[in-house]
């Protein structure tokens, strides 16, 4: 039962719209783009620039040990469910170790039972906790894919036409795709790419609108905008096809003729569609490499301080370098994607996730320490460049995990908590609704007890905010107009007051 059908996404209409933007003759790109983005005055100003950076946590992050419940009553429930860590079993972080990363929001969050709550970040996330407490980061509570708002009873209903569920819940590859594109695996267009579609005509070099420093991901694929892929060292030159700016070809095995022949062959259009597809990528590689390499080399060297031995930091460092080269690259709006994997911790969560103490009694940084350090270093880099208000970074992941333990890890879930970081973020606040701490299925008079309404078994959170609402809030900041929003987020209209309260409010 796939009610999230691609044709409901208005992708076709959207593509036509974007096409008109790019090719409509007299009303040339800039003017059209101004209208679409609703930012006519700002758009041509010299410092005009905005970037949206997605940090994808592949494997599905364990929400309960990332944004950790802290007030005494809820911590006691968490401890009872997860069990104190014994060195081999138990998943509960010690409350005392959470004091240093206690979050101090300007407004205390209230959960769906009306209870005021406190949260701390994982003890390995000290830098991100500091950003939150200094107003530069916000937390979106219990967000996940939804077609419409659902209660647990509605989720359990067999009437999937009235109460549609997102397809293939709990499946990694499908939920990665749904987070990125609103559709399960096989989707061709993601919301980062669609935002790029709208913004690309304002960029002189439209091919650098959507840039991935990680693998191919549907998030960055638009109807018009294609994702451009770089490594943490920048673009990769094809040595055997290289011709320099003076039109002198490299020598390949002692022959420039070979270089010229190879350069021609690997870019030519082909009748066979797979062959043509491959050569299109190669042609893009060659066409873009020179510009990227030159821009990175020429952009004013900026001193960034990124942690070593942190692959996410390496990627974000390259994003920062590209942003520093934005003028020479001819871009005013960019959508980036970086990622870090390894979050599918069915086992060894205490060893690998971060926050527990090792044999020497030191806090283990784990993956969450890397995430925190990398994002904070990137934020600092945007401050150094003087554009902290123009760059917004957010986390996303396949899904949340169970609150229940399977011994030394957690299993596949649904809703999760995520971070939004940047100078334009209304920080030091929680958005959305905190879930109660429960794994029980207990009912009273045939209805789930109130504390069991917001998970679908074993503490798999039933989201109270949709990915569409989460993404649309950032898209609005980026410049996507309200009347374009449904073509980017197909289900946004299903959330009450989508264009007022539907926006979550975490962006200025």
């Amino acid at each position: 039962m796939h009610l999230l059908k691609p044709d409901l996404h208005s992708r076709r209409a959207f593509m036509k719209r974007a096409g008109q933007l790019a090719f409509s003759g007299a009303a040339l790109p800039t003017a059209m783009n101004l209208a679409a983005l609703g930012e006519a005055a700002a758009f041509n100003s010299p410092g005009d620039y905005k970037a949206l950076v997605c940090v994808f946590l592949y494997g599905a992050n364990d929400f309960a040990n990332t944004v950790v419940t802290y007030d005494n009553p809820s911590y006691a429930q968490y401890l009872n469910i997860r069990g104190a860590y014994t060195g081999s079993a138990g998943l509960a972080l010690p409350q005392a170790d959470l004091a240093a990363t206690l979050l101090t929001p300007t407004v205390a969050p209230v959960d769906s039972l009306g209870v005021t709550r406190q949260f701390a970040l994982n003890p390995a996330m000290t830098r991100l906790a500091s950003l939150f407490n200094s107003g530069k980061a916000a937390i979106q509570l219990n967000v996940g894919p939804l077609v419409i708002p659902l209660t647990r009873d509605q989720y359990n209903s067999t009437d999937h036409r009235t109460y549609p569920r997102p397809p293939q819940l709990f499946s990694h590859n499908d939920q990665q795709s749904i987070w990125q594109s609103s559709s399960p695996e096989g989707a061709k267009v993601g919301w980062g790419g669609n935002i790029g579609d709208l913004a690309m005509s304002g960029n002189t070099t439209s091919g650098f609108t959507c840039i991935s420093v990680t693998g191919n991901a549907v998030y960055l694929s638009g109807d018009q905008a294609l994702q451009y892929q770089v490594t943490t060292n920048g673009a990769v030159r094809i040595n055997s096809a290289y011709v320099n700016s003076s039109n002198v070809a490299n020598s390949t095995y002692g022959s420039t003729a070979v270089t010229n022949a190879l350069r021609s062959m690997i870019q030519q259009s082909r009748v066979h569609k797979l062959e043509n597809e491959y050569n299109k990528v190669t042609a893009r590689s060659i066409a873009s490499e020179g510009a990227i390499t030159a821009a990175l080399a020429a952009s004013t060297p900026t001193t960034f301080t990124f942690p070593a031995g942190n692959s996410l930091a390496d990627q974000l460092n390259l994003v920062a370098r590209l942003i520093s080269a934005r003028s020479s690259l001819g871009v005013k709006r960019q959508v980036f994607m970086v990622s870090i994997g390894g979050f599918d911790m069915h086992d060894f969560l205490a060893r690998d996730h971060g926050g527990f103490r090792d044999a020497s009694n030191n806090i283990i940084p784990g993956l969450l320490g890397k995430v925190s350090d990398a994002i904070a270093a990137f934020y600092d880099a945007t401050v150094t460049m003087g554009i902290a208000d123009q760059v917004t970074t957010f986390t996303a992941s396949d899904f949340g995990r169970t609150l229940a333990s399977n011994g030394d890890g957690s299993d596949h879930g649904w809703g999760s908590h995520h971070f939004i970081v940047g100078g334009a973020v209304n920080g030091q606040k929680f958005y959305g609704t905190a879930p109660p701490v429960s794994v029980s299925d207990a009912k009273t008079s045939n209805a789930y007890n109130p504390e069991n309404q917001w998970h679908v078994g074993q503490g798999r959170l039933l989201p109270t905010t949709s990915v569409d609402q989460f993404g649309a809030t950032m898209a609005k900041w980026f410049g996507v107009d309200a009347n374009e929003m449904t073509s980017v987020f197909p289900n946004i209209q299903n959330f009450s007051g989508a264009f007022s309260s539907g926006y979550m409010g975490f962006m200025a």
Partner: protein, 585 residues
């Protein structure tokens, strides 16, 4: 049963069971051998339209799907005896050295004082590259590699003692069962230690009654990826649809929670660990190193951790028999019942067969092709859709050659390793910017390097056409591949002291028939690498470019040798860079 389906296309229900011949070993015993027989030339006795190749090109096309490379001897053989007999000969060929035996033969089981080599994953890379590049039973290894992209585990995350042995034992399971029975393979994989580590069956415990539950990872992925998939399928691999035209989920999360109980209680078999070797560690302490044997022993029940609870799954799935494992059923019986249910599930054959066709022949097999393929390996390769010349001119037939297969093909075609046999020079080639962007047994996740349904954006492909391998194609990886091959073709894999190719035969053709137009050289590389699938234009471009290169210089043997070798290298690089080679048809 197996004998009947083994060499015939389907058309009946029985052929739709994997039944479960992945090869046709069963056929041979049923027929009393026959590996040396040749296929009748009359189509009256063959179910396939194409019994034997009509040309060297057709022979190579077949060989490059059936194994990694084509030698002159292979071409002659398949032309002489035909496709079916050649395949049967491969199925009965003696299996080559196992991965574990290879590691032993190279001394990787040695424990050296103050060295912690038993924690190194590197030898797993050396092992699998050596197996792929040199093993004598290439078709079996080719099938095993395809299986490694369905039943995925990964060297990248193996830890603990002897991770290379753990991965070698996993690789050996795939090779052992490559032409065997799917049900046997499924059980062997389920109890394999590498898989147990990867998807957490090892150490999986029953519920503790306080909120903890059995680990669901293996229960989920064994269904989603290893046996039946997400949605109910017709025998031709297309999704079944309900009254509203929607696909039907194969299982719910409740089914996974139930099935997870079956996979509890397992852990490593430590019974053969002695004698333990006490190895001092630099900086203090001692490692107590077990023998390598545990790595290849199936996991066993240890402690009292198997769930005593009843397990009920597939209760309300249309067309699927409900499975009920009663409380206190022992672990072995539970496992048999559960795996039998997955094996007999109507999805099993089309789900697995389609992916094997995608790995070996084409990304988009027709529904009929999927339904005909039962005795998987032979049927995939002999099917008319694989063999018909029409595939060579169809605009979407075929698949992108995987980068690791390109390197293995080059190595086998040109006699790597020569002269060095230092396999430690070839390792993890996963970096897309500087290497291949892919390395065998090093998938980044259980979802393989790429997904069966991948479609790039901005594509001109027809609606519904999928191109799985393109998921690892991007602006960086296309460049990284070409740069890596440019060096490997010339100086070898792993630098100056690494594994080199031997181009003796090709060098004799470097100026043939003329220095300005060495078409014999280009034609040979075109034949061996692409089955002669390069267009006349491309052949001409390559020939002209190479014809302009320096060649024989009278009186200067050293420079002449360098020049002729460079010509060979240039042709190989240009062939391996062009799209007509990269897309295998």
């Amino acid at each position: 049963m197996q004998a009947e389906v083994a060499d015939s296309p389907a058309g009946s229900d029985q052929a739709l069971r994997l039944g479960g011949v992945l090869g046709t070993a069963a056929l041979l015993s049923a027929c009393g051998g026959g590996a040396s027989s040749t296929d009748a030339s009359s189509s009256a006795t063959s179910p396939y339209q194409f019994a034997r190749p009509a040309s060297d090109q057709e022979a190579v096309r077949f060989l490059l799907q059936a194994q990694f490379s084509a030698s002159d001897a292979d071409i002659a053989s398949v032309k002489a005896i035909g496709y079916g007999a050649w395949l049967r000969a491969q199925l009965s060929a003696q299996a080559g050295q196992t991965g574990v035996a290879w590691l032993d033969s190279k001394g990787f089981n040695a424990v050296t004082a103050n060295s912690r080599s038993y924690f190194s994953t590197g030898p797993a890379d050396y092992m699998v590259w050596a197996q792929l590049m040199t093993s004598t039973d290439a078709p079996r290894r080719r099938m095993a590699l395809a299986l490694s992209e369905i039943f995925v585990t990964s060297t990248t995350v193996m830890t603990g003692y002897w991770p290379a042995y753990v991965m070698a034992a996993y690789w050996d399971v795939l090779c052992t069962h490559a032409f065997g029975n799917y049900r046997d393979l499924l059980e062997a994989i389920t109890l394999n230690l590498a898989m147990g580590n990867y998807l957490n069956t090892r150490g999986n415990k029953t519920a503790d009654g306080r909120g903890s539950a059995p680990d669901e990872n293996y229960a989920r992925e064994v269904m989603q990826l290893f046996s039946i998939g997400l949605v109910l399928l017709n025998p031709d691999g297309t999704p079944k649809l309900d009254a509203n035209g929607a696909s039907i989920d194969s299982y719910s999360n409740a089914d996974i929670t139930e099935l997870a109980k079956v996979f509890t209680g397992y852990d490593v078999d430590t019974s053969q660990n002695a004698p333990i070797m006490a190895n001092p560690v630099t900086g203090g302490g001692t490692d107590n190193v077990p023998q390598t044997t545990f790595a290849r022993l199936p996991m066993v029940q240890r402690g009292n951790n198997h769930s005593p609870q009843a397990s009920h799954f597939f209760q309300n799935i249309p067309g699927v028999t409900p499975v009920n494992i009663e409380a206190n059923t022992n672990a072995a019986t539970s496992l048999t019942t559960a795996l039998d249910a997955l094996f007999s599930h109507p999805n099993n054959a089309p789900f697995i067969c389609k992916q094997l066709i995608q790995r070996l022949v084409t990304s988009n097999p027709s529904p009929g092709y999927v339904s005909r393929v039962a005795a998987v390996y032979m049927a995939i390769l002999q099917d008319d859709e694989a063999r018909a010349p029409s595939g060579l001119s169809a605009s979407e037939f075929g698949k992108l050659r995987e980068p690791m297969l390109r390197l293995v093909q080059w190595a086998r075609t040109f006699n790597v390793p020569s002269p060095s046999t230092d396999w430690t020079r070839v390792g993890d080639l996963s970096d897309p910017g500087t290497r291949l962007g892919q390395s065998p047994l090093r998938s980044p996740s259980v979802f393989n390097f790429f997904r069966p349904g991948y479609v790039p954006s901005g594509t001109t492909l027809s609606a519904g056409t999928v191109v799985p391998e393109f998921q690892i194609v991007n602006e960086s990886s296309v460049a990284g591949y070409l740069n890596y091959m440019q060096t490997a073709i010339d100086t070898g894999v792993g630098g100056a002291t690494g594994l080199k190719a031997n181009y003796t035969t090709e060098i004799t053709l470097a100026e043939s028939p003329s220095k300005a137009s060495p078409s014999d050289l280009v034609n040979r590389i075109n034949l061996l690498m692409s089955g002669g699938q390069l267009s006349a234009d491309t052949v001409n471009t390559i020939t002209t470019a190479v014809g302009s290169m320096a060649g024989t210089i009278t009186g200067n043997a050293t420079q002449t040798a360098t020049n002729l070798r460079r010509r060979v290298c240039a042709v190989i690089l240009m062939v391996m860079s062009c799209a007509e080679y990269l897309v295998q048809k």
